[in-house]
């Protein structure tokens, strides 16, 4: 018996010793890490891993390495990609016609663009630039990409971003298989002409956000399904080349010296992007120096990280859909009831408690859209709606009106309503807070139901809910978000529809004059808010953080991309 106990003690001691040998900051341990991590550390800096396990460059090595905590891509197949997280990577590994940097359009493969008077035809002129392997990039490669995205057999789920081109929608719907009918043509090696379906002054911005890249027909045809499936199956043309990719985990980029502007932009030689989903882990890695910067700082840690955090408005808006077609359709279709629900929410206090980077939304068009004179759309075109702190008295009045119209004598008689959203900690808190405010302020009983994302979105389209809360992209122009609510738009699930609204949006799309366009947009916005079929909740925000030695770590609201164009690592 005693023997066994003694053995146990001995074992425990050995383990402690082992633990001692393997301390993370210990020199020996550090070297092991560097050696084992050669896949990511690699070559010249691998051996010098004295600090923190060889991840960071040795002191004084400026712009050597940069480790970023961010969301990773779902797919790197540019035709099948749907997620903006993929776009973040494409930004680094492909050259585009034009790209965004800090919400400004930057010329990339194109060196200039001209348009006709009524903004229906744009001509891009390409500069001399090549792929990473030296092969020249020509205009027909861009045309081929548009071709791939619009041709139904390629299975692109994002084809509608090019529906602004003449004939594109008909071609994509299979009404014709004549590619010549689509308004996209490479007239020579260096010239690319787009003809639009309707006048669009924001076309270049939209193209920059869409990030049109060159694809080679040969490569696409030979790789088929495997296009972009691994680091070998891509033809790099951007500022970086992807050398390692672990799905849902990490990416490593090496600078591409053949990028046309390699000398002036993208100074960092090696970039690691690491995907971490746990909030505590993410912050701890950043604080421990295992990462130099991070996107999407967890809301609860904003205060904790203090100065290192910067905030920017996001590109999304959270909305609640009221289902006029469901079990309680008559109630949900009542505008007064919708307004009562909307007015009863104290958006500002709620969002301050849950996620301070967000901004209460009491309209649909976000503050990021500006007019030509620099003032924001929001300031120039106010709407008549509830304030950010809600208005309980007004809400009660609306509720009373709604009850009267529908023949109820009190709120107690209302059926129990189902508030559906997808599983996410923040969505849950928001749902709980909103439901509690409805209960406290109006005496309405609503139950919260959360489902995994696939199931929840299935319910959104099948109309299996009374209220549905989801965040959507606001897009590139002030019309983008509202356009998607019109009949046939991406978020049209049949729950709310207004012919007048559709007409206004359509009119606005064709209006060239800014004053007229924004005026129509504003009318549509007001109409939508008053009918209360869709209630805005908040505009999403971005918080990102970097250590002091990182310079020019920026974030973009429009379009995606890790914009490391001028990023410096000074250590």
């Amino acid at each position: 018996m005693k023997k066994i106990v003694a053995m146990l003690l001995a074992l425990a001691m050995v383990m402690t010793l082992l633990a001692g040998c393997n301390t993370y900051t210990d020199d020996g341990g550090g070297k092991t890490t560097a050696a084992a991590g050669a896949g990511t550390g690699g070559g010249e800096t691998g051996g010098a891993g004295e600090s923190q396990g060889g991840e960071t460059a040795p002191a004084g090595a400026k712009d050597e390495e940069f480790t970023l905590l961010a969301n990773g891509p779902v797919t790197l197949n540019p035709i099948l990609s749907q997620s903006s997280n993929d776009g973040d990577v494409f930004y680094l590994i492909y050259t585009a016609l034009v790209r965004m940097y800090q919400d400004e359009v930057v010329f990339d493969a194109a060196e200039s663009v001209e348009h006709n008077e009524d903004y229906t035809e744009y001509t891009f002129h390409l500069r001399d630039c090549t792929f990473a392997d030296g092969k020249p990039i020509t205009a027909d490669m861009f045309e081929y990409t548009v071709y791939c995205m619009l041709t139904p057999s390629f299975g692109c789920g994002n084809a509608d971003v090019y529906f602004m081109l003449e004939g594109a929608e008909a071609y994509n719907n299979g009404e014709t298989d004549d590619w010549a009918t689509v308004g996209c043509e490479a007239t020579d090696e260096k010239t690319l002409v787009f003809k639009l379906a309707y006048p669009n002054a924001d076309f270049v911005t939209e193209m920059a956000a869409n990030f049109l890249i060159p694809l080679e027909q040969e490569l696409v045809e030979s790789l088929g399904e495997d296009l972009g499936s691994s680091v070998e199956n891509m033809h790099y043309s951007g500022p970086y080349v992807l050398t390692d990719w672990q799905l849902e985990s990490s990416l490593t980029f090496e600078k591409n010296d053949n990028y046309w502007d390699a000398a002036n932009t993208f100074p960092v030689k090696r970039v690691h992007a690491v995907q971490v989903s746990d909030a505590n882990t993410k912050v701890a890695m950043f604080e421990n120096g295992e990462a130099d910067a991070m996107f999407l700082v967890p809301a609860e840690y904003l205060e904790h990280l203090g100065d290192q955090v910067s905030e920017a408005p996001g590109n999304g808006i959270n909305l609640i859909w009221l289902n006029s077609q469901g079990a309680n359709g008559e109630l949900m279709a009542n505008s007064n009831f919708g307004l009562a629900l909307s007015y009863a929410i104290d958006r500002e206090s709620m969002m301050k408690a849950i996620n301070p980077t967000t901004e209460a939304a009491v309209r649909v068009v976000s503050s990021m859209f500006t007019r030509e004179d620099g003032t924001t759309y929001q300031d120039a075109y106010p709407v008549d709606y509830v304030g950010a702190n809600g208005d309980v008295e007004k809400a009660k009045e609306y509720l009373a009106a709604a009850l009267k119209e529908l023949g109820y004598s009190s709120a107690d008689e209302l059926p129990a309503l189902r508030y559906v959203t997808y599983e996410n900690a923040e969505q849950k808190l928001i749902g709980e807070a909103i439901i509690d405010q409805w209960k406290q302020n109006l005496g309405i009983n609503v139950t919260l139901e959360q489902y995994t994302i696939g199931t929840a979105i299935g319910m959104f389209y099948s109309g299996d809910f009374d209220l549905f809360d989801i965040g959507i992209d606001v897009g590139v122009t002030c019309l983008s978000a509202m356009d998607s609510f019109t009949a046939g738009g991406s978020f049209d699930n049949g729950c709310w529809h207004s012919d007048e609204f559709d007409a206004l949006i359509n009119q606005a799309k064709y209006a060239l004059d800014e004053e007229e366009r924004f005026g129509l947009a504003n009318q549509a916005e007001q109409l939508m808010l008053s009918e209360a079929g869709i209630l805005p909740v908040f505009f999403q925000g971005h918080a990102y953080a970097a250590h002091d030695y990182v310079e020019n770590f920026v974030i973009s609201v429009i379009g995606s991309g890790w914009q490391l164009n001028y990023l410096h690592v000074n250590k």
Binding site: N280, E300, H304, S349, A353, N424, A425, E432, I435, Q440
Partner: protein, 323 residues
Amino acid sequence: MSVAEERMSGTEKGAGKGMSPVSAEDFVPVPEGERDTDVIVRPSVSYWRDALRRITHDKVAMVSLGFIAVIVLLAVFAPVFGRYNYETNNLMATNVKPCGEHWFGTDTLGRDLWARVWVGARVSLVVGLFGAIVPQVIGIVVGGIAGYFGGWVDMVIMRIIDVGVCIPELIYITLIMLYLGSGPLPLVLAMAMVGWMGSARMIRGRIMQFKSREFVLASKTLGGSPFHLIFRSIFPNILGQQVVSLTAAIPGAIFMEAYLSFIGLGIQSPLTSWGQLSQVGASNYRLHPYQLFIPGILISLTILALYLFGNSLRDALDPHLRD
């Protein structure tokens, strides 16, 4: 014989004394009037009675039981008599540390954690208990049938189980939650659907072990019905082990609920549970440690009490552990 075994045999003075050296003084002639001492004078003690007597004389068991009783009482009454409602937000008093006003502090939406913890206790205890018992009961019945009858019955049941355990449990759970909602009851049902297979397998193994033992054969020879054999002859022998796995299954069920809420299939708000509270607490434990430690410690203590009680219960129930 070890000290432990002596302790276990409790009030019956140990057979272990027989090992001490024997001397002549130990032997005294039996006095005249006490010749008939070997006649049984007291009523014979039944199995269950004996078990009850043993458990009530076990201090550890009684302290554990007391603790569990306190938790249950608080779970039942604290939310009723508390000053705050567990679902009412107060956006002006978010993340308040424990104080006189809010004994356990408040959460991100300013909800009183004292109220939430005890409402959560209700859910966790119900889900933990039934989520552990229901699958076990199903498992005992199915496993018992498979193990006792053998042959093609066993074959079919075991194949169903073989296939069933390989299908990801999330698929069953998602399906149940989708059609029955996500209250405590569907949760227990989902756990039963996932859990019965494991315990059926285990029971079957145990039954096969005992099936060929002498006392079972004897009972069979005497014409015992299958029911009698399974539940009277074999079952008491595996009950002890079952009690242990039951006490192990309770934390399992409580954690399962926490894990499910982590991936969006747990108890739906505004209801909450210890698992969910500690899950939320763990997501920002560095900033508001009390939000993790209060539910966390309660879970651990409750499970400790259940475990110790289960141990004593096992000792009291298992015929192998007494002689």
